[in-house]
């Protein structure tokens, strides 16, 4: 089990160097990890759960308001690679007339929209930079892959939770099943 020992050694070496490593200066962009700790976290696929500014109830919007994911808020999935997270402007399309008396809506309107500040949504899904996945939604939609296949039953959650694990195996199996290419360049470039 020399391999294991080696990783331990590396882990420790990293730990030692962790505090010697100065985080990259703010005026420089670099793919480097901000600290050895975050490097180690990524290595072990440890991802902190996203904390959202407000508990957005997907359920309500889908079930009560009968909104379609890909039509109202995440419409760009059909056109291109990114689903995109709607800005507070999108909320206001409806909510400057609908449910304006609810505390949360008032919060959005007054604390954000009126101040010209957007909601700091955090991404729930998505890949870390170092896996170099260039995912494109549109072809998957065209192949009529259901949103729930990769994003779980968000329609019936309030705050979106990460309950499908986007491991490579997950992708590869589906591609196999659907006879889609499993060449590395299909996703990694």
């Amino acid at each position: 089990m020399r391999a294991g020992c080696w990783i331990v050694a590396l882990g420790l070496a990293a730990a030692v160097s962790a505090c010697t490593q100065a985080p990259p200066p703010a005026d420089v962009f670099t793919p480097a990890h901000s600290s050895t700790a975050s490097a180690v976290q990524d290595f072990f696929l440890i991802r902190p759960a996203a904390t959202q500014p407000i508990p957005f109830p997907h359920k309500t919007h889908v079930e009560k308001a009968m909104l379609k994911c890909t039509e109202t808020c995440h419409e760009s999935v059909v056109k291109g690679p990114n689903a995109g997270i709607p800005s507070v402007k999108t909320c206001m399309i409806c909510h400057d007339s609908i449910a304006t008396d609810r505390p949360l809506i008032m919060k959005i309107t007054n604390d954000y929209y009126k101040k010209g500040i957007d909601l700091p949504w955090q991404r729930v899904y998505g890949f870390t930079p170092e896996v170099h996945v260039r995912f494109n939604h549109a072809p998957h939609i065209r192949a009529s892959v259901d949103c729930a296949t990769c994003h779980g039953d968000i329609a019936h959650q309030t705050v979106a939770e990460r309950n499908v694990n986007h491991t490579m195996g997950f992708c590869v199996d589906c591609h196999k099943a659907k006879k889609a290419s499993n060449d590395c360049l299909t996703c990694h470039f």
Binding site: P24, P31, A32, A138
Partner: protein
């Protein structure tokens, strides 16, 4: 129809202006090494314009040759990679899979053309230069190998579009950054499986020669020889 991407470079019209070099940097998020690292031989140019002097003054001559990954069919870089980070795709591209690369640098040593580049450090960009990044291309990190991809992101995008419109790709519809930028249109890119494509036409022309063909890597780039004084 499956594709087989190839390129023809006309050395008779190439003026060595290096528009292609900058185009490549702009398209592919290639890091700028900076003077100190460049002096250590760590500047990255996926595409370089080689220049060779011939003869002595006053009969001195200069010739240029743009050299980029030759996308070999028998690529030495592929067989030596222990992790398949460098591998051959069904469209004849030499893929470099950054996330699978552990940085043995064996591929770079095996490559007869020295067109592979290594991230000796994590690259840095002085903000906000990073806002220019092409979102369709990965930003590579420390310890991975990188090289010319024939602008695979453009190939993929074009294929997806064609697929969405339920049609075949048209010849010339798709150009890598270097070919697109060349003011002398010396670089022609296209599908070698399509006998009608411009690249296929030029590929067989008598002026064509492949670089270091004797090494036997079966490169997919043909150079049209520079013509003699008329």
């Amino acid at each position: 129809m499956s594709h087989r991407w190839g390129m023809v470079v006309d050395l008779d019209t190439c003026t060595g202006c290096e528009a292609c070099v900058v185009a490549c940097h702009a398209e592919n998020n290639i890091a700028t090494a900076g003077p100190d690292e460049a002096a250590r031989g760590r500047a990255m140019h996926w595409l370089r314009v080689e220049r060779y002097w011939e003869g002595e003054y006053p009969e001195a001559k200069l010739k240029f040759r743009p050299v980029l990954c030759q996308q070999c069919d028998a690529a030495p870089c592929e067989s030596v990679c222990p992790t398949y980070a460098s591998h051959h795709t069904d469209e004849g591209l030499n893929a470099q899979v950054y996330n699978r690369c552990i940085g043995t640098r064996y591929c770079a040593n095996a490559c007869p053309y020295n067109v592979r580049f290594f991230n000796f450090f994590n690259p840095t960009w002085d903000k906000p230069l990073n806002l220019q990044f092409n979102p369709d291309v990965s930003v590579r990190e420390v310890g991975v190998m990188e090289k010319c991809t024939f602008c695979v992101q453009r190939i993929k995008a074009a294929e997806i579009t064609a697929d969405a419109e339920k049609r075949e790709l048209k010849d010339g519809e798709l150009k890598p950054a270097c070919a697109q930028s060349c003011p002398a249109t010396a670089i022609v890119f296209g599908d070698l499986n399509d006998p009608e494509s411009k690249v296929s036409q030029l590929y067989g022309s008598g002026r064509g020669e492949k670089l270091l063909e004797e090494v036997g890597a079966q490169p997919k780039i043909v150079y049209l020889k520079r013509q003699a004084t008329a």
